[in-house]
């Protein structure tokens, strides 16, 4: 079946522009996660949804970052007034929680470059 998809795969934004990154999770996956991955680093947690509820947004680096999942399926990560330090790969993962464990399925990521 289809995996997690993300769009766009690449995005170049001028400093100060707003961007919106989309994630289509695996159908039926209740949990959805967003991560930021800087070059040469591991993914850093940004936020977590269970269905449409955003249960944890402690990883969002500033109030310029906003995520939503209004119908409990597709999610959008929005970054307002982008800065150069926002340049990174943004990964989305969806998951079933089975026997108390999250096994996450990752999308290919969106590479954001802020110039």
């Amino acid at each position: 079946g289809a995996g997690v998809s993300q769009s766009p795969r690449y995005k170049v934004a001028k400093r100060g522009q707003d961007v919106a990154l989309r994630c289509d999770p695996i159908s039926g996956h209740v949990s959805l996660f967003w991560y930021q991955q800087a070059l040469g680093q591991g993914p850093e947690f940004l936020t977590y949804f269970q269905n449409e509820a955003q249960l944890d947004k402690s990883g969002l680096p500033s109030d310029r970052f906003f995520a939503e999942r209004p119908e409990g399926s597709v999610s959008t990560l929005k970054i307002q007034r982008t800065q150069q330090e926002d340049s990174a790969v943004y990964l989305c993962a969806s998951s079933l929680r089975v026997a108390g464990v999250y096994e996450q399925y990752f999308g290919p990521g969106t590479r954001l470059t802020v110039t």
């Binding site: 591991g42 996450q104 399925y105 990521g109």
Partner: protein, 109 residues
């Protein structure tokens, strides 16, 4: 902030050799997972070990967990060029997963 630290940061071996990567973490865990990331791709789940397990096998992968030392190791036996990738350990932290910085493995043919 990242929960785990992988060691070494980079590892280069010949095809057919074994590769061992280590992960240390900071807080108590329920389970630890290893993921692989090929260049330019998302992460792929490899194997999970629960906190009450000490060793687990999956194909050419062997994972150990020592909760007293807060460390885990991933062994890939009989490596192949296709194993070239970055490998990350991850632990659950509340509702989210915390990843280390990864080990970059290069397997030369």
């Amino acid at each position: 902030s990242q929960q785990g630290e992988e060691d070494p940061q980079a590892l280069s071996i010949q095809e057919g050799e074994n590769a061992t990567m280590n992960c240390s973490y900071k807080t108590s865990i329920n389970n630890l997972q290893w993921y692989r990331q090929n260049s330019g791709r998302g992460l792929v789940h490899l194997i999970l070990i629960r906190s009450n397990e000490r060793e687990k096998h999956s194909g050419r992968l062997r994972v150990t967990l020592d909760t007293s030392k807060k460390s885990s190791s991933l062994l890939i036996t009989a490596s192949r060029a296709a194993d070239t990738a970055s490998y990350f350990c991850a632990t659950e932290f509340g509702n989210d997963m915390r990843f280390g910085a990864g080990t970059r493995l290069t397997v030369k043919p």
